[in-house]
Amino acid sequence: MLWRAVVGRIGISIVTLWVVSLMIFGMTNLLPGDIAQIMLGQMATPENTAALREKLGLDKPAHIQYLVWLGNVAMGDLGISKAGLGAGLGTPIVEMLGPRAFNTLRLTVWVSVIAIPVSLAIGLIAAMHPGTRLDRTVTFSTLSLISVPDFLVATFLVLIFAVYLGWLPSIVFLRGGESGWLLIKTLAMPILTLVIVVSAQIIRMTRATVLNVMSSPYIEMAILKGVPRRKIILRHALLNAIGPIVNVIALNLAWLVGGVVVVETIFAYPGLAKLMIEAVLLRDPPLVQACAMIFCTVYVVLIFIADMASILSNPRLRHPK
């Protein structure tokens, strides 16, 4: 039964990805501008534009183009970036993505390593003492943090650490090959911004989840038989809350990969999200498609992990109705 549930979820993920690929392809085809003409620039004559269009397969109808693209993507060939590189040549997208993906991954890993344990601990502590001043402080400050735009958090951090204190640079300038203290200093601001935004969400949801489990009958039973509160939370409530909490973490990580757009823009951080914005501005459909597919795949995989976590932690979900 467990395997059927797993296979079912995998099937759903694949179908979702397929629909996503259709939507992405359709959307990028809306981008204005003739790619062949953009590539040729000043050398564009009607004849060689037509020739290049034929070479790139742009003269074929849209559904054929889609199938060719889908086949290539499935084989791991993301195509060639078409704009901004003069006549004909272009860089393979896989090469362009490498360093950018590394940067975004580095950012995400740092943020998760810091944010997840800290916010789980704070959420748990708040749930252990509901209604106290500590709990109200945590609730109110996280509520305020999820209510303000993330660019605001970033702005205030720049104001404090870059303008007034002058400790940290206000934009990220990666030369490559930084290490140790310098690297930490360079990355500190974007990491801090994201940690604050993501933690606020995880803290709130951890607290809500644990409190929710705390109102279930078996916890009442444990209270009635005299188990100390700390033990109830750690042994009964937390174990049952793991599924939903993993869910929340996965959702936040998915948000982190895509939602870093604002943060990467403010700090000029050379990550994937910024690459995609550049690609949109340069009218480079293959690059936009590749970036979008990566983001969506990561999202779908994380959601899949979240689903699996809740199925594994809650035996009742192993038997879908």
């Binding site: 629909v19 702005t155 936009v288």
Partner: protein, 311 residues
């Protein structure tokens, strides 16, 4: 002992007619009350803002306004500190911050509110259709919905705006579609819960039509959680539109909008200008107060909403 409590609850239950709908009492805490006051304040500003604004939103103020009496130097008008002429100072072009906030309230809150309504119109309609419709319809709509949810919303907006240009109707249309996906999820799961309940079964056995069941049974039963969710969604949409404006893709100048006001005036931070702070505070007071009200209401509805937000 259990007998006593049971009989007590019996008597209280029959104080009113058995088939009367339960009275919903919402007692707001001080935080919720503050939220309501702030919300009413902004609603009034949206209604009368442009009328009470001292200047027009695009007006670049005259240097003569800021001339020191007796001096003959023309001062710079940009990033002026608050004074009796401009109560909240001026922005990077020398426009009155207060007037721009008052005009911007209408843009920011108006666009977000219409977009939220639009998201609800699509999301609830399709969500209920999926809940009551055939399995195939449910499957199709749900997969489409998952796909929209899987594309990061800012990216989706980015591509669409790059392709179609940034106009206010497009902005509303796009935001509505993007956020309809999450409304769909909630409306569908709420609708499904009601569909399997005994009273819907009873209505079916009575021979009521689908339309009757939707309007008389489903909608009234999901209205309250949806209303609460509306608040949350409204906040998300304000933040989303502000983020778009911040990236330069949202509301275009010379119209004022709080998100772009923060962005335009960021350089002023270095000179200690309050021009970027004021619109930030405007956004924050609005969103925090809506969230405080929502928090209060969902705390009183037994945390059911919190549960739904997690799953």
């Amino acid at each position: 002992m259990s007998d006593i409590t049971q009989s007590n609850s019996q008597t209280t239950q029959f104080d009113e007619l058995p088939d009367a709908p339960p009275k919903r009492k919402i007692k707001l805490s001080w935080a919720g009350k503050t939220g309501v006051v702030v919300l009413i304040f902004w609603a009034i500003i949206v209604a009368i803002g442009p009328m009470i604004a001292p200047y027009y939103e695009g007006d670049i103020l005259d240097e003569e306004l800021f001339m020191v009496p007796g001096g003959d130097e023309y001062p710079d008008t940009d990033f002026q500190p608050p004074s009796k002429i401009v109560y909240l100072g001026t922005d990077y072009l020398g426009r009155d911050t207060l007037s721009r906030i008052l005009y911007g309230a209408r843009t920011t809150i108006g666009i977000s509110f219409i977009a939220t309504l639009w998201a609800y119109a699509i999301g609830v309609t399709l969500g209920i259709a999926a809940a009551v419709g055939s399995k195939l319809l449910d499957m199709t709509l749900s997969r489409l919905n998952d796909a929209v949810l899987a594309i990061p919303s800012l990216m989706l907006a980015l591509v669409m705006i790059a392709a179609l240009g940034s106009t206010i109707p497009l902005l509303i249309l796009l935001t509505g579609i993007i956020y309809a996906a999450s409304v769909f999820r909630i409306a569908r799961s709420l609708g499904q819960e009601v569909m399997v309940s005994d009273f819907v079964e009873a209505a079916r056995v009575r021979g009521e039509g689908l339309w009757w069941i939707i309007t008389r049974e489903i909608l009234p039963n999901i209205a309250m959680p949806l209303a609460t969710d509306f608040g949350l969604r409204f906040v998300w949409i304000i933040l989303f539109i502000s983020a778009l404006s911040f990236l330069g893709l949202g509301v275009q100048p010379p119209m004022s909008d709080w998100g772009s006001m923060v962005k335009e005036n960021l350089p002023g931070l270095i000179y200690g200008s309050i021009a970027p702070i004021v619109p930030s505070l405007a956004i924050a007071t609005l969103t925090i107060s809506v969230n405080m009200i929502v928090d209060d209401i969902s705390a009183h509805s037994g945390g059911k909403l919190a549960k739904r937000m997690i799953s």
